[in-house]
Amino acid sequence: MRRVRGLRLAAGLLAVGLTLAACGGSGDDSGNTATPGSGGGTSAAGPKMKVGMAYDIGGRGDQSFNDSAARGLDKVKAQYGLDVKELEATAGESPAQKEDRLRQLADGGYNPIIAVGFAYSESIGKVAKDYPEIHFAIIDDFTEGTDTGDNIANLTFAENEGSFLVGAAAALKSKTHNVGFVGGVNTPLIKKFEAGYTAGAKAVDPSVKVQVKYLTQPPDFGGFNDPGKGETAANGMFDAGADIVYAAAGGSGSGVFKAAKAKGKLGIGVDSDQYNLPALASVKDVIMTSMVKRVDLAVTDFVTSVHDGKFAAGNKVYDLKAGGIEYATSGGKIDDIKTKLEEYKAKIVSGEIKVPAKV
């Protein structure tokens, strides 16, 4: 047996080397690799629901967006005993590779399949058409005609509402009547954060000054992962009189907090409750609050709906009302203004305050 596999290894090497030659040689035992290796060896027991997850660049362990989705997946995995397969994107890859990733999950019998991030919008639209019996979900995108269909759920978030509340918190806490906004990349999505933040700050204090800075312009998406740029931008804002800066900048946020700590100012986190992230433990005392985007909730809701046979296609918006958006209170720095924030929250939920989504 060993010798046979050794031979196969040699054949495989040749196949890679000559690229085409070995196509016919080794298709005889394809059952061998079909079982996922990383499970617990329990795959033989009963028909488990198989959930496929395609992450964006960074994948599990990015301390932010993807990790939040992973938390949701872990929860439902424990709850329902799922068989999960997690794949992740490579930086700079072509759309064909994104499409291939989703097709591999579909061909592997995974249903439902969750695509994390708007980068999958084109590919999920194409793939879902070819697999009408599989339920798909995409997080952060809803584009009529691109990624909509009878078997696609579009899970989006009202980031502007959460940003409104942290904007209000910033204005309530600011002593200099001057607050800052650091956006990672100047995309329409991040502008939605800015719009809510500015509106919230102005609702509390119409005279407040809001400084706005984006770290990079697309197609340079480095601004989501460049703490150095975040630090420079935040320093500039603190020097210009701001005392609280909101970092809607993914991994660059740590630089903003570093600058705040060095200057004795405050920062506001994004996506996760960043006060509690181990990677930010050294700067957590300057994280006043965070605008929490419950991607985990969207994932658990979606998987549960498929599990219970209640899949619903179309756009589901996770807003303050649905509990998909929150502000974090860890650290206790906003306990004194919590009642005021809850008032604003109630007004947004009731529709009395309409938060703008565009600058």
Binding site: L9, A11, L105, D107, S121, D141, T143, P219, F221
Partner: protein, 382 residues
């Protein structure tokens, strides 16, 4: 001393195949140390080419990737032949693809005949690529700025320029999703049809033939024209070229312009055959650097780079299958890195061995095999 004697072919193949085997060994060790089975990894790679549905799709995707990688490699190789290191292929092709995408989707183009539209798009891409590389050439011949530095910096400038131009009030279009910035979509008249392949819905880029044509042109110009001879001569020995009346400055400008023009074509197969828009989110963004690796592995040879491009495309497109099989797909990047490093070393070893063989041949012809032919013979590791 024929160029295609069995010995010279064997020697030519020894380095890349040796490097490949060495890279496979290194990867096996890394996989073994991290607790993954190298054999299962190989199985997954082979499966990704042989399973129904998956196999044909992987093949088509690999061929498509290889098409773009090959064009990038030719662009890099044109520079290499002149001892010029054009690291700016990445910026050149992105800027060219963006401008060409905007042009191809412009409203005044819509009525034009398909052939004319596609030809204009390709020409525009080549002109933009050449112009961007031309800046580096200009700096080099007028101010002596190393093209290594200037092309790297022009890469960064290209992304900023693209951002500036991609705004909806300039060359961009409003994106319906609101999550991306992109040019308007090129309609059917400006697209290049793909070729169907049995067993999959994915299509082979129609512009795969463009890559073949560019390869042929590269081969012809370099080995069958006076210009190609002068280019190679300048690369081999600048002094000798000057002595024989070649203007080095002129050659620098020409070769960088040609390199940039080839770079301009890199994004075209994907743009006109699959994506139909230049999108800051979804357009492949690192092909220029892949081209450097492919040119190194293929030794700037038109056929060698073709094989190298296919290998690279294949490795890249089996990554998802590895991910599915539970093998960290980063092993692909490690493998590619090791291949490039070991191939450079292997070529040098083979070159020294070849020099020794030639010296022995000369010695035998002169009847003085016992003593070294000349005092400064290269030392060969035992």
């Amino acid at each position: 001393m024929g160029r295609f004697s069995p010995r010279s072919i064997l020697l030519g193949l020894a380095a890349p195949i040796g490097a490949l085997i060495f890279a496979a060994l290194v990867c096996s060790v890394i996989l073994g140390v991290t607790g993954h089975s190298p054999i299962d990894t190989m199985d997954a790679m082979v499966d990704s080419l042989t399973k129904p549905r998956l196999g044909p799709r992987t093949f088509v995707n690999s061929l498509n990737s290889a098409t773009t990688y090959y064009l990038a490699a030719v662009a890099v190789a044109i520079g290499f032949r002149m001892r010029l290191f054009n690291i700016g292929v990445n910026g050149q092709y992105q800027l060219a693809a963006m401008v060409a995408a905007a042009l191809a989707s412009a409203s005044w183009m819509v009525g034009a005949p398909s052939f004319l539209r596609i030809a204009l798009t390709l020409i525009a891409a080549m002109l933009v690529g050449a112009a961007w590389a031309g800046l580096a050439a200009l700096l080099k011949v007028t101010r002596g700025v190393s093209e290594v530095i200037s092309t790297i910096m022009l890469n960064a400038i290209a992304t900023s320029l693209i951002t500036f131009l991609l705004s909806p009030d300039r060359m961009g279009a409003v994106d319906p999703s609101g999550n991306d910035t992109r040019t308007a979509k090129i309609d059917v008249g400006g697209q290049v049809d793909g070729l169907s392949y049995p067993g999959t819905g994915s299509k082979i880029y129609g512009l795969v033939f463009l890559a073949v044509l560019v390869g042929l042109a590269y081969w012809f110009v370099l080995s069958r024209t006076r210009f190609g001879f002068e280019l190679k001569a300048t690369g081999l020995s600048e002094e000798a070229a000057v002595a024989s009346g070649v203007s080095v400055k002129r050659m620098v400008v020409y070769s960088l312009l040609l390199s940039g023009a080839a770079a301009g074509l890199v994004g075209m197969p994907a743009l006109l055959g699959d994506i139909y828009t230049y999108s800051s989110q979804n357009f492949p963004s690192t092909v220029g650097f892949t081209g450097i690796a492919v040119a190194l592995l293929g030794r700037n040879h038109p056929l060698g780079m073709g094989v190298a491009a296919l290998l690279w495309g294949l490795l890249d497109n089996t990554a998802n299958s590895l991910d599915v099989a539970g093998v960290p797909k980063e092993i692909v990047a490690i493998m590619q890195g090791v291949i490039v490093l070991s191939v450079v070393v292997a070529y040098e070893l083979v070159r020294r061995y070849r020099v020794r063989l030639e010296q022995r041949d000369v010695g035998r012809a002169l009847g003085t095999t016992k003593a070294p032919v000349n005092a400064d013979a290269e030392e060969v590791p035992a």
